[in-house]
Amino acid sequence: MSHHIVEVKNLRHVYPDGTVALNDVSFRITHGESVAVIGANGAGKSTLLQHLNGYLAATSGDIRIGDTPLTRATLPDIRRTVGMVFQDPDDQLFMPTVFDDVAFGPLNLGLPEEDVDRRVTESLALVGAGHLKRKPPYHLSSGEKRRAAIATVLAMSPDILVMDEPTSGLDPFARRQLMALLKEFRHTKIFTSHDLDMVLELCERTIVLHAGVVRADGPTREIFSNDALLAGCCLEKPFSMQNCPACGTRKSCP
């Protein structure tokens, strides 16, 4: 199953206005890994994600998904392999009803109608949104929109899931539910997030970006224990690793 590997080599991206968003970024993510890409605002996280399914073209450097290099010719195949969940579900849910939205991808793949129906029902059931099938997206709450957005991607049966800020804008309960859901997925997962507690819980590996450069790449807990690194990248420890706000110690208060 070499399809599940993401390899980025010396990736560099310069925006038309001259801003260097990514500079010499390299990493390799293997099958079944769950990796977080963290960094301050403007560190280049979103730019990096947009390269992974070929929406932005690299100024220089290589990207390989599995054995396939990302080129114009392989783009359709790669877009099916890499499922991308956007930060704002309103960008992702553009069809009249949730059903149409989830069916959009499979229909584009040219699947027969019964197959499309089955896939839509399965992926909606998987995210616990089967009852939303007939609803238009503007009648959904944020949590429901997020679930529907994930279903739209799952319906393409991707090997790699890429998510931009999956927990932003969710209430604590919806966030908890979503995290439980994401934990169950067996895909190779790549997240960007500012929710470092989520990262600590879901990702065994973390890549820290700062000003377009990879500053660290390693086990999540190790990275979050490195105070100097976090401070240098304008980041803070996740709350669960900080001292108790009441007594200032690490032990839990009664």
């Binding site: 947009q50 399914n53 929406y55 359709p76 877009r79 099916r80 890499v82 499922g83 991308m84 956007f86 704002d88 309103d90 960008d91 992702q92 553009f94 069809m95 009249p96 009803t97 149409d100 069916a103 959009f104 991808g105 229909l107 584009n108 793949l109 109608e113 499309v116 007939r134 238009p136 997206p137 503007y138 009648h139 739209t152 991607v153 393409m156």
Partner: protein, 291 residues
């Protein structure tokens, strides 16, 4: 901005009405679109001094509202929203067209007033029919029906996107406008200039959103063609619905039913009164002996 937001809420309500389940709701959207088109054409093609011939057309909205179980007051309120525009269009007719066309006792009614009333009635009928169409079908189904009736897909998709993002956009502009109001402390703020840049920002933001949506579409294998796999059947109920209503509208358009009804009433009144007169004469001449 509050009024725009409440208008959007009303739009959402209209949309929810389409989820109903009645004999009208279940019909194929194309049938309803066709009937509404025939209705609008028959109403609009009436002579501008025609008023009495328009009255029977109210049977269509009344029947549709009662069969589909739509809230009549809500529809009525939506129709009154467009009244100011109609008034603006028709208000000069009585001023320019002063020829007396109708004499009601001492009161002479000019052609201008009649054509004004005719414009008003026709707007109420056509706008009402369009609202009812959306209320029993849903906007997206209307778009899809239009596409299947031969409208180019580009237009259908444009309409669908417009409808999908009108909610997002009004929310966004509502927030921006509220932020401006709050910082102008109840005064005029910087007047029209600040609105200029506010609109500009909204436009740019919409542009960026459009890019992100395009990206989301590409990410799911979009290659320029929309597949809307919605099955529906144009069967016997649809045929009879279209033929029945079209026949009624065309008859109403060609025959002035009000006049016909009026003459029917006059004739029956005459027959009736002749009958009673005879009875009275008979009774007065041959009183029944009592006691």
């Amino acid at each position: 901005m509050a009024s725009i937001q409440s208008a959007v809420l009303d739009l959402k309500r209209l949309d929810l009405l389409a989820n109903g389940d009645s004999s009208i709701h279940r019909l194929d959207a194309r049938a309803k679109v066709l009937v509404t088109l025939v209705f609008i054409l028959s109403v609009v093609s009436c002579n501008r001094y025609e008023l009495s011939a328009l009255v029977p057309f109210f049977i269509f909205p009344v029947v549709m509202i009662s069969l589909a179980g739509l809230p009549p007051l809500f529809i009525l309120r939506k129709i009154t929203l467009i009244c100011p525009f109609v008034l603006a269009v028709g208000i000069f007719n009585p001023v320019f067209d002063r020829e007396i066309l109708l004499q009601l006792g001492p009161l002479g009614i000019s052609g201008g007033w009649i054509s004004f009333a005719s414009i008003l009635t026709r707007s109420i009928l056509t706008v009402g029919a369009a609202l009812i169409l959306v209320g029993v079908t849903g906007f997206t189904a209307v778009c899809q029906a239009l596409e299947r009736l031969g409208m180019p897909q580009v237009f259908a998709v444009q309409l669908l996107f417009l409808y999908r993002y009108i909610f997002v956009l009004t929310e966004e502009s509502g927030r921006a406008s509220r932020a401006r109001e709050l910082r102008s402390c109840g005064r005029k703020g910087q007047g029209i200039r600040s609105f200029g840049s506010l609109t500009g920002h909204l436009l740019l933001r919409t542009w960026q959103r459009a890019e992100r949506i395009h990206m989301a579409m590409l990410a799911r294998g979009f290659s320029g063609e929309f597949h809307t796999g919605r099955r529906s059947r144009f069967g016997a109920p649809e045929f009879s619905f279209v033929l029945g209503w079209s026949a009624i509208f065309i008859t109403l358009r060609l025959q002035n039913a009000t006049q016909f009804l009026g003459s029917l009433i006059i004739v029956s009144y005459r027959l009736f009164s002749a009958f009673f007169l005879q009875k009275i004469i008979w009774l007065t001449h041959f009183p029944v002996y009592q006691g």
